[in-house]
Subunit: 336 residues, 2 copies
Amino acid sequence: MTGSRSTSADVARRAGVSRATVSYVLNGRTDQSIPLSTRNRVLAAARDLDYVPHAASRALRRGTSNLVLLINAGVPWSTNVTDVEDELTALVAASGRSLVVWRRPGAAALQGMLADLEPCVAISMDTLTSEENNLLGRLSVPLVAADLAAPGTGLPTELQIDRLAGQGHHRIAYLTTSDRALQRFAAPRTDAIVAACVRRGLPEPLIAGVPGGLTVDVAAVARQLVGWLDGRDPVTAVSCFNDLHAAACLAAASDLRIEVPTELSVIGLDDDIFAPLTRPALTTVRLGPQHFARHLWSLARHQLGETPAPAAFTPTAHIVERASVTAPPPSPFPKR
Amino acid sequence: MTGSRSTSADVARRAGVSRATVSYVLNGRTDQSIPLSTRNRVLAAARDLDYVPHAASRALRRGTSNLVLLINAGVPWSTNVTDVEDELTALVAASGRSLVVWRRPGAAALQGMLADLEPCVAISMDTLTSEENNLLGRLSVPLVAADLAAPGTGLPTELQIDRLAGQGHHRIAYLTTSDRALQRFAAPRTDAIVAACVRRGLPEPLIAGVPGGLTVDVAAVARQLVGWLDGRDPVTAVSCFNDLHAAACLAAASDLRIEVPTELSVIGLDDDIFAPLTRPALTTVRLGPQHFARHLWSLARHQLGETPAPAAFTPTAHIVERASVTAPPPSPFPKR
DNA sequence: TCCACATGCTGACACGTGTCAGTGAATCTC
DNA sequence: GAGATTCACTGACACGTGTCAGCATGTGGA
């Protein structure tokens, strides 16, 4: 008897009522009239027996579970990702559901996972393959995916250029990743940088991708820097794909004895955990991961039919002013 | 008809057999004799209908799910954590189960989560509260938790001292965190540092904790450095709780115009993502997150009754030699 | 010829829950 | 006081699966 978990039948027996009544009380149904006395008796019995409803039977009966699945495909890592995860966890918990994160090992693994766990809605921080989309559709699991090319996605990079141009920089380079798997994220940012420069009447930025997603090759960055700083119209500022690339840029500059920010300004993106610890401390753009998480969740709730469709996402981002950006050095070749 | 998902009854109808036969075929039972022809007919029908077994009913019937829950409580973040998560995901998937990660928002949240998801085993990277342990026990969910004070846990810090002492350092300081929530992790390392120094006949290390778990206060670190380097027997090397603290130490040294490594050696722990990007590049200790994940999984499989109890965990770790550690400067007060 | 046994398959049950129609009693309405 | 309505509660079903006893049919041995 002991050792085995208690079911709603046990609670009913202890409270001296039927199982149906127990279910009505514990699910707080208002269309059934239940006097306070029996209500309290049921609640007391449930508490005494440490009753926890059986997740599987509940899901079976209701046709859908209370689980929200966050699919974490190959998103380039930053503290922002865990910030989004934490905020989503809180939001989902507040709605009486639970969020779990699945680190997708590969595109083919989804089917196996769905045979073990049927979420009521799936949220992906990335765009999935069409096979995965089809699979979710066949199992009628609604999917919410962040649109990587949505209007407004360019805001953070726009802010980078804003800051550099505001300090008087003219000749700007953009350091990004050449990692193929990251191009989904990198390409829109590169486009946004070019557009931002054009819009401000700046010359087109010099763009270079370096290999390595999680480990940036400092030597490759150094070679780029040499190229960019060479010649009669040298670059005075480098805007970077993320803080990791910016840190690599600071390291390369240090190796080349280029002083940041007096000779070269560097700006990052993410306000990652190590950004305040570089020397000079990294000026960067802070995204609003909580804001993003709230948007994802409102999309999900819309899919669940609980709320009307939310407005289009307007990202939030702001400059975090530190020490790696300043006005450019006086040019030896004055313009015009 | 279309739009609704197909069940094993649909597969049975299409293959012209009973539901029991379908179940036998799809679960690959060997004790039932099923000729190849019907077997293939069933498999073809399942494929045609895109049959995916219903997770909830399967779990209800079998009494337990195929889900492994990784409880990620307030572990100080580093790429090691995601490395462990990824390795565990792969191991669990290889056993026909699925791993999901739950970022615990608070100690009281576990019950709500367990009402939505009943794992066959739970793995925690941290020690849980006794209430949480009791709860899991009552629901008979086996729990595997990393023992933070197990013998051998001190190996990484031991290696730090090894490296510093091997270079001739004598007067060593230990920079750790004073964050209360992190003391579970920090205290054993501090003990290990002291023991390692004593064992080598070094003087007891100077120990200081600085506030901030994810954001280390560089100014506080700088004040410590000033104290440590003052006086007639100054510290020549700083061993750090993790790479984040080491990066803060490098930043503080830079602010104080102390040259690393010529005037002061600094060693980190974790080989975090930014460790190769500091200047000087950080010498640190690389843990074996995959090795750790494999141990956790073998413990879990033992709990599931599939394997005998594994041997005690022997952590793996090795020095990653970069540029922040070198021999100490010649002392103005020669020993003895 | 009869029994024993293997083969190939099926009907029926159970898991624990949520829900709906229904039931006896009490109360209200005219 | 008969009928209508509300109150408080219950019995029975369904969700989709895994499993087990059992049922024909063939096959071999004595």
